[in-house]
Amino acid sequence: MSEHIVSSKLYIGIWATLMCLTVITATVAFVDLGPLNTVVALLIATLKALLVVLFFMHVKYTSEKLTKMVIVSAVFWLLILLFLSLADYTTRGIGHA
């Protein structure tokens, strides 16, 4: 099987989407959405990161399942680090009020 070659049109489409999302996230930051501001900013960032990983980094086209497993487990480990740390720091006040 030969290497998958992505069309330049698709690359430019992904680039245009990323640029639009950048403008949207910077603009939405000035609108008061309460606590949702952070959620929206992080969702947009994650969408951008996904587009880069899947298309620019060719993960969508790889036939190697091990590569996908490495990526998913790396993210999973990062989430363990972040969530378990926050589970500690954000609950320290409970019961000591």
Partner: protein, 232 residues
């Protein structure tokens, strides 16, 4: 000793331990992704520190975030996204064996990378002028006067700026390494080292460049966009 039929079919650019070019490519990109997984943990520690301190000192983080230039930050995000496009198109040019196009795209990528670092330098210099570099000369007086609605303590405000400099600094260091790697790739591409059969270095350097772009995609909202809402 008999000759192995595999040895006779040995192709250019194919290491003898691999069955075919596809297996070799997959192995190389898997190795690169393993390295990037360690990079995720490397940056992950900083993101974790950021989250904990942001939770503790939200007001200080909000005021600090307002003081960094969102326009320069947005422009820099755009610059990096453009550089990622030229890298992706460059890898494609290498796959198709278009040497001239590859050299051009690598040159543009390098220019984008240097532009990013230059804009970052301007931003840091602004912080220096505003006495926002943590240390003995640090002062949050301007923030207290500018945003009287946000109650802040100058000392933890330094933590925001420490994390700002540590995270953007580590990212900039990765950019400098990236510029170095791409200069080398550019030199090799110019000498015609890459063919449709063998262009692995272009591809895995591309993975590195995109990864550094992704780190910035997260740094931008986390450092620049904490709290930009109109103050009441």
């Amino acid at each position: 000793m008999a000759y192995s039929p595999l040895a006779i079919e040995h192709k250019e650019g194919l290491q003898h331990q691999f069955v075919d070019a596809e297996q070799q490519r997959n192995a190389v990109s898997l190795g690169m992704w393993l390295f990037l997984a360690t990079e995720i943990m490397f940056f992950g520690g900083m993101f974790c520190a950021y989250l904990v301190y942001r939770y503790w000192y939200y007001n200080e983080f909000a005021a600090g975030s307002r003081s960094i230039d969102i326009y320069l930050g947005t422009i820099n995000t755009a610059v990096l996204i453009c550089s990622s496009l030229t890298v992706a198109l460059g890898v494609k040019a290498a796959q198709l064996g278009k040497r001239k196009l590859l050299v051009t795209l690598l040159l543009i990528t390098l220019l984008f990378g240097l532009a990013f670092l230059a804009i970052k330098g301007v931003e840091w210099y602004d912080k220096y002028k505003e006495h926002h570099i943590p240390g003995p000369s640090f002062s949050a007086q301007d923030l207290i006067e500018k945003y009287p609605q946000i109650p802040i303590d100058p000392r933890p405000t330094q933590i925001y700026f420490s994390l700002y400099f540590a995270m953007t600094g580590l990212h900039a260091l990765h950019m400098i390494v990236g510029v170095g790697i791409f200069s080398f790739i550019l030199f090799q591409a110019w000498k015609g080292r890459f063919t449709p059969e063998y262009h692995t270095p272009v591809e895995i350097s591309g993975l590195y460049w995109h990864f550094v772009d992704i780190i910035w995609i997260y740094l931008f909202p986390l450092l620049y966009l904490i709290d930009r809402k109109p103050l009441k």
